[in-house]
């Protein structure tokens, strides 16, 4: 039995045209937006959009629900910040270090979690993430409650001064768009086909001769690495790496974003991330109502709205988005 409800997943044929149009709309919006909207808000949304895309790779295309993705996001953020602040590495190197940390954690966590299916898999990912949260809480490297503050942005490749918000935005946009493209290529490749086959019916895929464990692990590590890239970038956007990034509520948020946007769609996580970040920004003066509203959205999505915004749109228009 498929882990994720099959009726919620895209069924239309991928003509490639709808994807191209949507991609162009998205890029145009992202290029023009910082002149109208607050660039820091946009950068935050972009980081989360990448985080959600990475998560979607696992839940939408392999059918594995990881409840502990904050582990890679947060620890990449910590290592990138630490590299820049304490080792004095330039931003490009620090981001690579952060992303590599996430990849390593992905290998370790993945090889443990893949041993079990379904709910157990989710619980193990959650428990591992919580364990690393507790380590972050007490560790000198992460600064515990204080986090790593005053992370220097420095100059990109020694030339571009990143203290200007617009320059930083341009850098973040280029990296994130490149990552989106990478995700798209992974999904629409023979590897991606096998992942989808595993999601639909793992037993049958095994009987066809595929080593599904290995595919699942690779997908897991890819997802963790891209989540780490998002986290590493975020550390420089806010010049701060903190416990919030490794807390289980962060894991829950990325589930929310992907769900709202649409599981298994290409643009769903991006739209979902923007919606959730905007919502939090708008609701911030209302204190703890943010939690309540997030919870209500979860419930509504599961009960009524399983396709998500982009999924619903794609379904109505009979296209693949």
């Amino acid at each position: 039995m498929a882990a994720i409800d099959a009726t919620a997943l895209p069924t239309a044929r991928d003509t490639g045209r709808s994807t191209a149009i949507a991609a162009i709309v998205m890029v145009v919006f992202l290029v023009l937006a910082p002149f109208v909207l607050y660039p820091v808000f946009l950068m935050k949304a972009l980081c989360f959009a990448l985080f959600a895309c990475a998560f979607n790779l696992l839940i939408g295309y392999v059918g594995l629900v990881s409840f502990g993705h904050a582990l890679y996001f947060g620890w990449a953020s910590y290592l990138a910040a630490y590299a820049a602040k304490s080792w004095g590495m330039p931003i490009e190197v620090s981001i690579i270090i952060g992303t590599a940390t996430a990849a390593a954690l992905g290998v370790i966590a993945g090889s443990l979690a893949i041993r079990r299916q379904g709910i157990y898999f989710a619980m193990i990912t959650l428990a591992l993430a919580q364990m690393m949260y507790l380590v972050a809480l007490r560790s000198k490297l992460t600064g515990g409650e204080d986090g790593i503050q005053a992370v220097p942005r420095g100059r990109l490749f020694g030339t571009f001064d990143l203290s200007h918000e617009m320059t930083m935005y341009a850098f973040v946009l280029v990296v994130v768009l490149a990552a989106f493209f990478l995700v798209y290529r992974i999904i629409n490749s023979p590897f991606g086909e096998v992942l989808r086959a595993i999601r639909e019916n793992e037993q049958r895929t095994i009987s066809l001769g595929y080593r599904t464990e290995r595919y699942k692990l690779i997908a897991f590590v890819l997802s963790a690495t891209l989540a780490g890239l998002a986290g590493a970038i975020k550390a420089f956007v806010f010049q701060l790496a903190s416990l919030t990034d490794v807390h289980w509520t962060m894991s829950g948020e990325v589930v929310l974003m992907t769900l709202v946007g649409g599981l298994g769609t290409i643009f769903g996580p991006i739209v979902g991330a923007f919606i959730v970040v905007a919502l939090e920004n708008y609701l911030a003066p209302f204190g703890q109502w943010v939690l309540v509203i997030q919870g209500c959205i979860f419930v509504a999505c599961i009960l009524l709205f399983r396709r998500g915004v982009v999924g619903e749109l794609a379904h109505r228009l009979h296209v693949r988005l």
Binding site: L112, A127, G295, C296
Partner: protein
């Protein structure tokens, strides 16, 4: 007072006691989770929030209605259990045909709603709840100081755990429950109202969580996030014990509490991660858990 392995007995037995208390809560909560998972195939992420609501009911009863701890022990599980029944009917019944991961996400969302609502009204620092008068004070046993209330917590949770185990494994009602888990259609054919049993089982599991909440109120402050950090440790306990058996959940809960307490004495920095470390080891050696059946 004497020393064991370099640590004063006072400290060692004190931490063991604290470990047993933590273990009592782990056991009660993982028992509730195991009962619910057995019947409904749902991982009840709301369990932590329901535990918290039990504590708040006790707090509200005491501060607004003057109703004491002993009555709260009875009222809170019933009230929260009833809310659990409503949750099951309104939300969980609708997604029963889907994969249990949807249940996990749904109950996660419910937990957020509940925690957010309580945080709005009560803030995020704790409310005090006094130890009931009859259980105040303690006894100096020579090798340690034993507060009465904490001794009561251990004793009562042992009783509750044993009673639940007995009800499920040794009574006729329990056998209907176990049969309905394995083959609901067949049990229905015998004229037993399976959906009602499912709903009531969820309510019972939730009630167990609320009971644990009332017991926790005098020890840990009553705060909206008291459930969320605890529930994740309980998940780890459940993974270690394995979902298959009730007795497994109880034994693993108490045992891990004791292990955690001992770690606090000999290796304090690792004390809050030791349960997760054990989970990793168990996963590598016995993926089904210590008492679990292979899934």
């Amino acid at each position: 007072m004497f020393t064991i392995l370099g640590h004063p007995s006072q400290q060692l037995f004190g931490q063991l006691l604290l470990g047993l208390i933590n273990g009592s809560f782990y056991a009660l909560l993982s028992l509730g989770l195991a009962v619910i998972f057995g019947m409904l195939n749902i991982i009840n992420f709301t369990h932590g929030a329901q535990y918290m609501m039990g504590a708040f009911v006790a707090y509200i009863l005491l501060n607004y209605l003057g109703i004491n701890y002993w009555l709260a022990l009875i009222i809170a599980p019933i009230v929260i259990g009833a809310i659990g029944v409503v949750i099951e009917r309104l939300f969980l019944a609708r997604i029963r045909q889907l994969d249990h991961l949807y249940g996990l996400i749904l109950t996660f969302g419910l937990a957020l709603i509940i925690e957010g609502l309580f945080r709005n009204y009560y803030g995020s620092s704790g409310q005090p709840y006094a130890v009931p008068d009859s259980l105040q004070g303690g006894h100096n046993l020579g090798f340690m100081f034993l507060p009465n209330y904490r001794a009561w917590v251990i004793a009562f949770s042992l009783v509750v755990c044993f009673a639940t185990w007995f009800a499920i494994e040794r009574t006729r009602l329990g056998s209907y429950l176990r049969a309905a888990t394995e083959n609901p259609t067949l049990v229905r054919a015998f004229g037993i109202n399976v959906p009602r049993m499912v709903t009531l089982t969820y309510g019972f599991g939730v009630g167990l969580a609320a009971l644990a909440g009332v017991m926790a109120a005098p020890i840990y402050n009553v705060s909206p996030q008291m459930g969320s950090d605890l529930i994740i440790v309980v998940f780890a306990v459940v993974v270690i014990g394995g979902m298959g058996s009730i007795m497994g959940a109880i034994l693993t809960g108490f045992a891990l509490g004791i292990v955690e307490g001992l770690t606090k004495v000999f290796f304090p920095e690792a004390s809050n991660t030791v349960i997760f470390a054990i989970m990793i080891v168990v996963l590598l050696l016995r993926p089904a858990g210590l008492f679990g059946r292979s899934v």
